[in-house]
Subunit: 339 residues, 4 copies
Amino acid sequence: MARDTVRCALVGLGYWGPNVARNLADLPDAELGFLCDRDTDSLQRLARRYPQARTSTEFADVLKDGSIDAVFVATPPVSHFELTMAALGSGRHVFVEKPLTTSSAEAERLIDLAERQRCTLMVDHIFVYSPAVAAIREVIGKGDLGQALYYDSTRINLGIFQRDVNVVWDLAIHDMAIMDHLFGRTPTALTAIGRAHLQGQRENLAYLTFFYADNFIAHVHVNWLAPVKIRRTLIGGTQRMVIYDDLDLEERVRVVDKGAAIASSAEAAYDLRVNYRSGDIWAPRIGATEALHNATAHFIDCIRKSGRPTTGGSEGLRVVKLLEAADRSLAAGGRPIEL
Amino acid sequence: MARDTVRCALVGLGYWGPNVARNLADLPDAELGFLCDRDTDSLQRLARRYPQARTSTEFADVLKDGSIDAVFVATPPVSHFELTMAALGSGRHVFVEKPLTTSSAEAERLIDLAERQRCTLMVDHIFVYSPAVAAIREVIGKGDLGQALYYDSTRINLGIFQRDVNVVWDLAIHDMAIMDHLFGRTPTALTAIGRAHLQGQRENLAYLTFFYADNFIAHVHVNWLAPVKIRRTLIGGTQRMVIYDDLDLEERVRVVDKGAAIASSAEAAYDLRVNYRSGDIWAPRIGATEALHNATAHFIDCIRKSGRPTTGGSEGLRVVKLLEAADRSLAAGGRPIEL
Amino acid sequence: MARDTVRCALVGLGYWGPNVARNLADLPDAELGFLCDRDTDSLQRLARRYPQARTSTEFADVLKDGSIDAVFVATPPVSHFELTMAALGSGRHVFVEKPLTTSSAEAERLIDLAERQRCTLMVDHIFVYSPAVAAIREVIGKGDLGQALYYDSTRINLGIFQRDVNVVWDLAIHDMAIMDHLFGRTPTALTAIGRAHLQGQRENLAYLTFFYADNFIAHVHVNWLAPVKIRRTLIGGTQRMVIYDDLDLEERVRVVDKGAAIASSAEAAYDLRVNYRSGDIWAPRIGATEALHNATAHFIDCIRKSGRPTTGGSEGLRVVKLLEAADRSLAAGGRPIEL
Amino acid sequence: MARDTVRCALVGLGYWGPNVARNLADLPDAELGFLCDRDTDSLQRLARRYPQARTSTEFADVLKDGSIDAVFVATPPVSHFELTMAALGSGRHVFVEKPLTTSSAEAERLIDLAERQRCTLMVDHIFVYSPAVAAIREVIGKGDLGQALYYDSTRINLGIFQRDVNVVWDLAIHDMAIMDHLFGRTPTALTAIGRAHLQGQRENLAYLTFFYADNFIAHVHVNWLAPVKIRRTLIGGTQRMVIYDDLDLEERVRVVDKGAAIASSAEAAYDLRVNYRSGDIWAPRIGATEALHNATAHFIDCIRKSGRPTTGGSEGLRVVKLLEAADRSLAAGGRPIEL
């Protein structure tokens, strides 16, 4: 039987926190009962919007509030582990912004504790909950691509947002989570090459390559100093290919028939040269639901029905392990790291 | 004093040869005097268009024709060396399709011979002659970018065109030539990771990274099995950045003011997040002259005025050395190759 | 001296009302004190988000609440007049969704009453408050365009949203308000040609032409049954031209140098043919502030400082007069209507 | 039985003539035997390319050459009638650039003469021969659109090319020919509103509306002073809609499922608002054959097999009648002209 309304606390009211608050406030089975941030300005701004919620600059006050069932952690990554440990320790369900933690050892301890406490632990691998990725998973699931050959992603824009993590932890993490969800397999090795172009900053540009047991390969380009915003993923298969352009509001996902891609004659080769493509394109309708709505609703649902989150502790851990390996490769100038 | 009209032979009438013929035919100081290809169909098709030219399936006939001053070699790469050696040996000026040769040893022999024969040797690094690359070189030359930080290029499409070379020799070569022309510096090392997804074929997908003595880095993504055609290069600098999209007929080159890219405050960081960019964009008018027109005209001009081609033997050699290193890295699974 | 916080009621919680509520809730000098809608579901949904506000299904309750200073009317157009009359009559300031009213006679009565009551009356001509239109107004104000030659707007998409008005009142009204703001002049005549393609529905497609005393001309294409969403306005001048594409997040506003548009020679004409443009393009950075934030903040500011709204009653009236003329022309099969 | 090779003369070597020459030179069943232009520079330039062709500045010399079977008229419109009359009068087949003539009376005389002489008369309504329009015709022919509701075309760019005709005769003519080909029906009336913004020039901007016996409507926007090049046609139907963007090399033709365009509920209306579309998109592969190749090959084929051209005299006449009506409407300030 489903439980009653889940009363929630939100910790961390910086960039992403207000979006979590907005989505929580609209969920019929959740209640935003507590807002917490060390910054009083942010706290007051959100308190104006949600006057029904208690507020405090101290996380301890959240834990002391016996009415709170679940905690949403939207603070900088470095504090995820400590806050989540404390919340799980006090028997609360926890929804953590990506990345789950800043180390795999920490992630393992969170998983253990959540299990012992029988609490729901979910990491916000946000793209997993987007209608576009769901549509791509359906295409792959039906076998329309044939055998997958490569995953290639460009995720770049202008702006240094994160000061405590590098661009891999900020942006490439999305691709790690998407790949984990779409292909359900773990690479055997990875390399990461990066550059820190700004004095005193972490890497702002990186190229990651993921190697698999077979011929499949994945590559991710992330950059905070790009002159143009790009969010585009190509997935190549033996039968069809997918173009996923998250900024193309009209055709976010396109499925391309490969057609006569391999020219068997000189004329066919010429035709391919002057032509842009050799097959039809199909762009399925993608729903407009906000990914964060789906993610928060899924978390509440898992709590009420004792379900297992699509992106729970183990999914979070797998991605943190990839991030750690990427950091090791970056530090070693791009040396391959076995996984 | 400038010489008279240069009488030219064209060897190789496959995909690119007819374009060379068309441009040659329109040059006031050149004459298309001889067409040569082993394939009689191609030969007859071109002969219909240029009935003034002699034709033969034998290259030896070209060399025997005393009226021919210059030879254009547009055959598959593997034959470039032999044909060019013979032509230079007989005192002809030679214009060779890219790549100059398939090995650096061969390229060095061509350079030597051209020098001894006092013949003009030019390799068709075609993008060097495009109005777009010329515009970018001007922007860089004026110092508008500040210090260059990275060069990132995506050059992908659908279609296997080349059977005797891999995708690096077919597509990445363009970026090697463009970088050589724009930055005038040689990388200290490179890595190339690739995949041959099709039975019996060479690599159809590759990621190349070029390392330099300082913090500058270059990366090139080439792919013959991509669902979409992309020809886009990003050049990042400390002051401004360039977007060069060769398929954007309206704004082929854009110069982006970096503006407040490094957020010094939380609000600035937020503004960068929700905004697409932080500075103005300027798109200079790019002329419509065909690059191959510029290249062929430049070759004829060098012959008549005894000038040095912008992309002569040494430029061709530098690029072939990079291609060789890329092949070694590919074969070693992406191991860095010192240059 | 500026007044204290303005306490606001919001009437109408359909599509646009929640956006008004969200912006109001974030204004430091305003308070969302009352929510009103006949539909109890909408009322409850918003009440969850803004528990501090009183709620009622009866507008009379709003007027009875002595703490309310200002009323935001976001109901269907047909009720704007009656609600606004009542609110002004009780001494409240009023912010009305576009259109101000459904007839010019009604608009004139509202203007009179607002003046007599010394209340602020503002119509939400939303695009007037967008950063993009502000940037265009600045370009025009500096004289950069030279003499304005034409205004051409395409505002189309898929979806019948409004049941009580036709596509002209829903979409073309935006262009009427933008033109009024940018050029500050009234056309001498207009024609409107439309089609009602769906049984029992008003016109879903219309073409409007606005004639002026001189050679300037304006044209607006609106369509609810278009296969693609377009929001693009071209403004031509003797010196420069503006492209305003509201869906181009990267380059929302572009200023194009006209350059050698008028070919004085055969070669220049040829160059124009093969080229896409003849001058540079400049895309100024456009701020990311939401237009509705600017509009609501401006209304509150006008109340507190007794200022005159940029889009007050007379601006609303001018646009309603154009809408009435458009309806007369539509009914007469596109006959010109003198203004 | 098919005839032998057709020997052709080309008159008029301005902008379009060289394209005709290039396509003719590649047709296996045609021969470019004569080049004619009053301008000796143009004549010499083309003679260099096609040394096999005779040349003359006098059209009379073409007619005197007994070896010539067919004449291609690519001169300015004002001379089409006289040259075509003379060529038909001497028993030659004629291919005329659009428009067929500058008056319907002239077009009727050409049709008569061609019939009496049993000569093929074809007008180069070039888009009728493009793979994109062929693909759209196929979609319409299969009934995929349902009942056609509207045709809306934007055909604008920067550049005054034509000095002897206005923008309607230069650009809108393409839409008249496309509509004639796609729908096979004649409008009952049309209006044309235009402006001549440049001293001493004909109209550079025009809006044309075509009325039909039923609810179908067509609208064409042509402009020589636009800051951006657009070639986009929307065709709306009760079941599906077509987007034909001739500058979108990847997806030139898209077929859009209309889906739930008419919102039957508040939620559906909201979904349509925030979403860009309500159905799938399908972009068929469009061949890369040049339209002018198809047109010239079709003409040669009609001559050899005594076939009737798809765009013969009567198609040319229908379009000239529309152009004449447009001119009358322009002169009358946009008054409707019955057809």
